[in-house]
C-alpha cells in the first residue's frame, strides 16, 4: 500500500507528540521504577526499631542466598535450616518478641531464610508452624502435593486436567535445586502493578487516536483524500498497537534494568517452583518473567485496539477514557469470580486487566483446543489474536463508513 510507511510515521508521531502521552509515559515509568525500588530504599525496622538500611539488608540476604546457590533442598539442607530456626528462643516463636530481632535468628536462622520461606510456602505452613516443623523432605514434598491436589479440587478441574498436571509435575526435578533468583522474584511480584499501569497509560494515550480527528475537524481533510480511508485506518491501527507494545517493552525493559542494579539477574535457569511451589509446569524463573511480560504486552495491545475502536465509535476521548478506565478498575476490584462458576470465572480471568496478574497467568485451569490441553499463557496469544482481529475489523468497518458533520 503506497505511502503506508509515511502515514504510519505521521500517525505514530501524532500519538507520541501529544503532551498527555509524554506526561502519562513519564508518570508510569516513575511509578513502575518507584514501586520496584521501594524495597531497597529507606530503613530496615524490626519491632519499630531501625536496625539497618533496606539496601544493606538486601545485600546481606543476597550473600546468604548466594552461599546456598546450587544446593538441593533435600533432607540435609532442610535439617540445617531446621536446626538454625530451632535455636530461636521460645518467646520469639510464641511472638512475645519478634524472632528476627533475636541474635539467634541473625546468627543461625537468617542464612537459611530463603529455604525456610520455600518450605513454608511449599508445605502450606504458617510462620510459627514452619519454625517448629521437624525437617522431613518426604513430608514436605507430600505436603506440596496435597496442597496442589486441594487447589485442583477448589478450581473444579476435570480428571483430564488433573492428569495433565500430574504428567507435568512428573517432569519436575525433585528435590528442587536452590538458586539465588531474587531479581526474578521482584519482577514477578511487580508484574500485576506494572501491567495495570501499562493498561491505564495505553488507554490515556490512545483514547484520542480517532476521536481527536473528529473534534479537531481534520477528519474532513483525511476522509476526502485519496488514502484517507483504508490506508489511514491501517496506519493508525499499526501506530496504536506498536505504541502499546513498544511502551510495554519500555516499561518492562526499565524494570529489568532497575532489577539488575538493585538485586541482580542471576538465576534465570532456577525452577519457577522456587517462587511458585504449587505450579507444576516445567519453567525457569526467567522464562516465567518473560511469559508474564509477554502477557502484559499482549494485554496492552488488545486494550489499545479496544480503545481505538471506542475512540472511533464515541468520537470522544473522554467517553473512551471513562469506559475503558472504568472496566480496568472494575477488574481490579473484582479480580476473580467464585471458582464454582468455572466457565465464567475462567473467562473473567482472561480479561486484559486480569491477564496481567501472576496468579492468573500461572493458573491451573486449562482450555482444551483440538485435543491439546493449553494453559493460560498458551491460550492468551490465540484468544487475543482472535479478539484483536475481530475488534480491528469492527473498527475498520466503522471508520470506512464514518461521515463528518453529524
Amino acid at each position: 500500500m503506497k505511502n503506508l510507511g509515511t502515514l504510519y510515521k505521521f500517525e505514530l508521531g501524532k500519538i507520541l507528540h501529544r503532551k498527555i502521552s509524554w506526561i502519562t509515559v513519564m508518570i508510569t515509568l516513575l511509578l513502575v521504577l518507584g514501586a520496584l525500588g521501594v524495597d531497597s530504599l529507606g530503613s530496615y525496622y524490626i519491632d519499630g526499631v531501625k536496625v539497618d538500611s533496606n539496601f544493606h539488608m538486601n545485600q546481606i540476604y543476597k550473600a546468604d542466598q548466594q552461599k546456598l546457590d546450587g544446593r538441593q533442598i533435600d533432607q540435609e539442607l532442610l535439617e540445617e535450616m531446621s536446626d538454625g530456626y530451632g535455636k530461636i528462643p521460645e518467646e520469639a516463636i510464641n511472638g512475645v518478641v519478634h524472632y528476627m530481632g533475636t541474635e539467634e535468628y541473625q546468627a543461625y536462622a537468617r542464612p537459611y531464610s530463603a529455604i525456610f520461606n520455600f518450605a513454608r510456602s511449599a508445605g502450606q505452613m504458617t510462620t510459627s508452624e514452619a519454625m517448629v516443623w521437624k525437617a522431613d523432605e518426604q513430608e514436605l514434598y507430600q505436603r506440596r502435593q496435597n496442597a496442589i491436589e486441594k487447589n485442583w479440587e477448589e478450581n473444579f478441574l476435570t480428571e483430564k486436567e488433573k492428569n495433565f498436571w500430574r504428567e507435568q509435575d512428573k517432569k519436575l526435578e525433585w528435590p528442587i535445586t536452590f538458586r539465588f533468583k531474587e531479581g526474578y522474584w521482584h519482577l514477578l511480584d511487580g508484574t500485576y502493578t506494572n501491567g495495570v499501569l501499562i493498561l491505564l497509560a495505553v488507554t490515556i494515550c490512545l483514547a484520542g487516536v480517532f476521536s481527536e480527528e473528529h473534534s479537531r475537524k481534520t477528519d474532513q481533510l483525511i476522509l476526502s483524500s485519496q488514502y484517507g480511508r483504508a490506508p489511514v485506518y491501517l496506519a493508525k491501527f499499526l501506530a496504536g498497537i506498536s505504541f502499546a507494545a513498544g511502551f510495554s517493552v519500555l516499561v518492562f525493559g526499565m524494570a529489568i534494568l532497575e532489577t539488575y542494579f538493585l538485586y541482580g539477574l542471576e538465576g534465570f535457569e532456577a525452577a519457577c517452583q522456587l517462587i511458585m511451589p504449587d505450579y507444576s509446569y516445567q519453567l525457569s524463573v526467567g522464562e516465567s518473567v518473560l511469559i508474564a511480560c509477554g502477557m502484559a504486552i499482549l494485554a496492552a495491545v488488545l486494550v489499545g485496539i479496544f480503545v481505538m475502536l471506542l475512540s472511533e465509535m464515541f468520537r470522544s476521548s473522554l467517553g473512551t477514557l471513562a469506559l475503558t478506565t472504568g472496566l480496568i478498575i472494575l477488574c481490579m476490584f473484582v479480580s476473580s469470580l467464585p471458582e464454582r462458576y468455572r466457565v465464567l470465572s475462567q473467562a473473567w480471568s482472561y480479561l486484559p486487566s486480569n491477564a496481567v496478574a501472576v496468579w492468573n497467568i500461572f493458573d491451573c485451569r486449562t482450555v482444551p483446543v483440538f485435543g491439546q490441553t493449553l494453559v493460560f499463557w498458551q491460550v492468551i496469544p490465540i484468544l487475543y489474536s482472535i479478539l484483536g482481529g475481530v475488534l480491528a475489523v469492527l473498527g475498520k468497518k466503522r471508520y470506512m463508513n464514518c461521515q463528518v458533520g453529524r
Binding site: 505511502n3 475537524k217 474532513q220 481533510l221 483504508a230 470506512m400 463528518v404
Partner: protein, 257 residues
Amino acid sequence: MELMIDRVSKQYGSKIAVDRISLRLHKGVYGLLGANGAGKTTLMRLLCGILKPDSGSISMNEAGVSTGGASATPMDISVDVSEEEYRALLGYLPQDFGYYPDFTGMKFLLYMAALKGLDKGSAQKKASELLKLVGLSEVCKKKIKTYSGGMKQRLGIAQALLGDPKLLILDEPTAGLDPKERVRFRELIAEIGKENIVLLSTHIVSDIEHIADTILMMKDGQLIYQGKWDEEQGDLEEFYLKQFEEDQGNEESGNVI
C-alpha cells in the same frame, strides 16, 4: 471530464439539507451562492464523499473514473478502486478547516501529500511550491498554532491544491483573507479553472462575480439558479439579495429553476 450529480438528497431529521439536486459540471469555475443554512456545505461534503447522500448519485466521467454509476446507486463510502481514484482527483478546503496545532506548515503539507499519494520527493517539492504560492514560505517551519487566521486559511488553500486536483471544492475559501490576498486568490482560481472543475461556495458575491463561469444559487437545500451571469443581466449582488430577502426565487424568469 464531467462531474454528474443526479437527484442527490440529504436530510437531517426533519430538515432537508440538500433536496434532489442535479447538476453536470465541466471544466470551469462554479460559484455557489447561498445564505447560511442553504445547504452549500452539505452539498460540498456530499461531493467530497465525506457524507453519504440519502438518495441520488454522484459520478465523475473521466477515463475509468466513477464514484457512482448510471444505476444511480448512492455514492458508496466503502473503498473500491474507483472511489479511491475519485478522491485522487479531488482537492477540498472545508469551511471549518481543522489542523494540527503542533505541526509546522511544511509538516502539515507533507502529511496531506502522503494522504494524497505523493511520494516523498515530489511531496517536498510540491509543498515548497505551494507554500511559496500562498506566501507562507517564510513561516513554513513555524507551528501552525502561531499562524494568524488568514495564514491558516492560506495553508488550507495550499493543501487543497496538493496533487493538482481535477476537481477543486472550496467551501468559503476567502474567509479570513485580507483584500489583497482575496485578489491573488481569485486570480489563482481563475487560472486553475481553465483546465479543471472548481466549485467554490461563498455568500460574498464579489468573490465570484468576476471569475465564476457559472453561478449556482442554493436556498433551503434546493438549487434556485444555475447559469452564466453577465453584466447585461444587471447586478448579481442585487439579484442575489432579491432571491433571499424578497423570497421570490421561484417566481423569477429566465435561468431560475
